[in-house]
Symmetry: C2
DNA sequence: GTCTATATAGCGATAGAC
DNA sequence: GTCTATCGCTATATAGAC
């Protein structure tokens, strides 16, 4: 007997596949933006890659800039490694800094992160406030977390630092260093594992020579 | 007596105003590329700004990419401060590093240099070999010069450095630092003079604490 | 060698049928 | 809510007159 009174394979007749298609669009946009840049990824390509029509993209996200903004937002939320924000005072300082450095350097070295960096500081974004927004939810949060960690080690007498936020910025700047600059300019493929590890050790060693309590 | 045998107001009848117009095009291109980016500056605008026709631009430089390449080349040649490449061993080390830092930071902080950096690491340039070329004639040359200077001070017993090229890269990385990153992302106008000076001193002090011979 | 006018193509965004 | 077809605009690069 097919007399089911309300089988309702679609619970919400109004907008059945919204979320599904919305996520497909977001993923397609993330892929195409990171591989071809902002101008290089056309709304036609994004719609085709997501398997929907172009107007569906527009009805979900308004326009291209709003779609890109959503991509950046979701990207930042899933990128920051939790290990950066734990104190772990039981670990020796050098090991703790090496751990932070390893996670941070891996994060900024991923092809998607490099591509995102390139887009966000490109001339196309100069008039937008999105880069400044990204700075607050990305680099600034990391820097604050490192400042808190340094503060603890200073209080414990392990470090002698005058200006802690500046030292945190210096540490992160050194971690990026020449390898990250070369990646931005496309001068090299990713570092080999041994080279990256050598870079991390050299960074931590230099930082500790400058700031370790004598 | 007007009997000059070859007055020749035009020495080369074949192409009378070539160099003049060529330089006007180059200057117009430099201005528009640095203010509007690579894609943002159209060949129409460049031709109009230079006071010539668009076809003249094409006949002089071939296509847009070649024109941009010429702009980068001429820009690099006139940007590098000579003071970076002098040894000046009679100056105290800290003053010498501060001088280098001041010149280097001023160079990379100029609106044109920031705009150039943005363009050269933009996704639009990812497929080109121009960024790699720029790296060799720009950052790499500076880094080599700093390496030579550090080598002298190590030989003089003032510094204790294991890996000199890496230390040179660290010094330049620190000089760029957070301020330069913020400029790239458009998070701030130029630093005030006092802030920049404080940044330079903090950089040199940290570098010396890490590498000064004890 | 230089100019005006145009060919060709791609973009973001939208109107109307279902 | 979703799709096909198209508008309006701007770009690079080129053909033909002088």
């Amino acid at each position: 007997m097919p007399a089911e009174d309300a089988p309702a394979p679609r619970p919400a007749p109004g907008r059945p596949k919204d979320l599904e298609k919305g996520n497909a669009i977001l993923e397609a946009a993330r892929r195409l933006f990171t591989t071809h840049g902002y101008d290089g990824a056309s709304m036609d390509q994004i719609a085709a890659e997501a398997g929907v029509s172009k107007l569906t993209v527009y009805s979900h996200y308004g326009d291209k800039e709003a779609l890109f903004s959503e991509v950046v937002k979701s990207f930042c939320e899933q990128q920051l490694p939790a290990s950066l924000f734990e104190a772990l005072p039981e670990l020796p300082l050098r090991e703790r800094l090496l751990g932070i450095g390893r996670a941070f350097f891996a994060m900024i070295s991923s092809p998607e992160a490099v591509a995102g960096h390139r887009i966000l500081c490109s001339p196309r974004m100069a008039a937008s406030h999105l880069p400044a927004l990204f700075w607050d939810v990305g680099p600034q949060r990391v820097q604050d977390a490192v400042s808190r960690l340094l503060r603890q080690r200073v209080d414990a007498g392990e470090l002698a630092i005058d200006d802690i936020p500046r030292a945190a910025a210096q540490f992160l700047t050194l971690l990026k260093g020449e390898p990250h600059a070369r990646m931005l300019f496309g001068c090299c493929a990713n570092l080999k594992h041994a080279e990256a590890e050598r870079h991390l050790e050299a960074t931590v060693d230099m930082f500790l020579r400058a700031y370790e309590a004598r």
